[in-house]
């Protein structure tokens, strides 16, 4: 690490060097901070959109259980959560609030999709397709937004 400590009165050049150093350190720590969260969001979008379609297809096909897609969906969710938990070492400013918004949006769509496809639109493939599209778009937008922060 560069030692930019100054003794005596500080001049403009030293102040500029310190400001540059502050920017450099800040950028360095932030770089690559979001990849676990971005991976999680994209993975969550893929798993949940495919899951909602799999559940609907399973309902349409006689003698087909939703157990297998449910198990694999659960496995993937665990993998994604462990990835975030183990590999997140830095979080960008305001990430806690943004994460709450991302998860709230996904959770609302997932619950609406599961409830409505199980009650009101049971076996309706168009509805499952619509919810899968909404889940895909919302999680992708959230992931890309986080990537640009």
């Amino acid at each position: 690490m560069n030692d930019t400590t100054v003794s005596g009165p500080m001049d403009a050049g030293q102040a500029k060097a310190l400001l540059d150093q502050a920017n450099q350190v800040g950028s360095s720590v932030r770089s690559g901070a979001s990849w676990p969260a971005i991976s999680f969001l994209l993975g969550l979008g893929a798993v949940s959109s495919m899951g909602i379609l799999a559940f609907t297809y399973a309902r349409l096909a006689p003698d087909t259980s939703v157990a297998l897609p449910s198990v694999f969906m659960g496995i993937w969710l665990v993998i994604l959560m462990v990835t975030v938990l183990f590999f997140t070492r830095t979080s960008k400013r305001g990430f806690g609030l943004r994460w709450g918004v991302y998860m709230g949006l996904w959770g609302a769509l997932w619950i609406a999709g599961m409830l409505l496809s199980g009650l009101t639109f049971q076996g309706e493939l168009w509805f499952a397709g619509l919810m899968a599209a909404l889940l895909t778009v919302s999680t992708t937008v959230c992931a890309w937004y986080e990537a640009r922060r």
Partner: protein
Amino acid sequence: MSTPATSNHPRHQLNDILGHPVRFSLTAALAQTEEVDFATLRNHLQVSDSVLSKQATSLESAGYVRIRKGYIGKRPRTWLKLTKVGEQVWQNHLAALQEIAFPQRQAND
């Protein structure tokens, strides 16, 4: 006749605690993030564990940094975060540095 020393020179607004190079860089890193773990900071600042620990504790004692210890699985992990006071002090410190670095710009503002 010599010009009298004025106490409102921006250098008087600089925070002494942040004058130390490791504390300065540590605060600069935390100011750009919500929370950073100890090992990441150590790697980015290129200092030893003991140096970082000592300076982080010093900033914690001043009320500028919050240190949180936890576990990921069975592995201990330490997280550091700038407090509200720390953020304010850092912003003031940066503003003073800006004034020193660009006195003309400050005068025009």
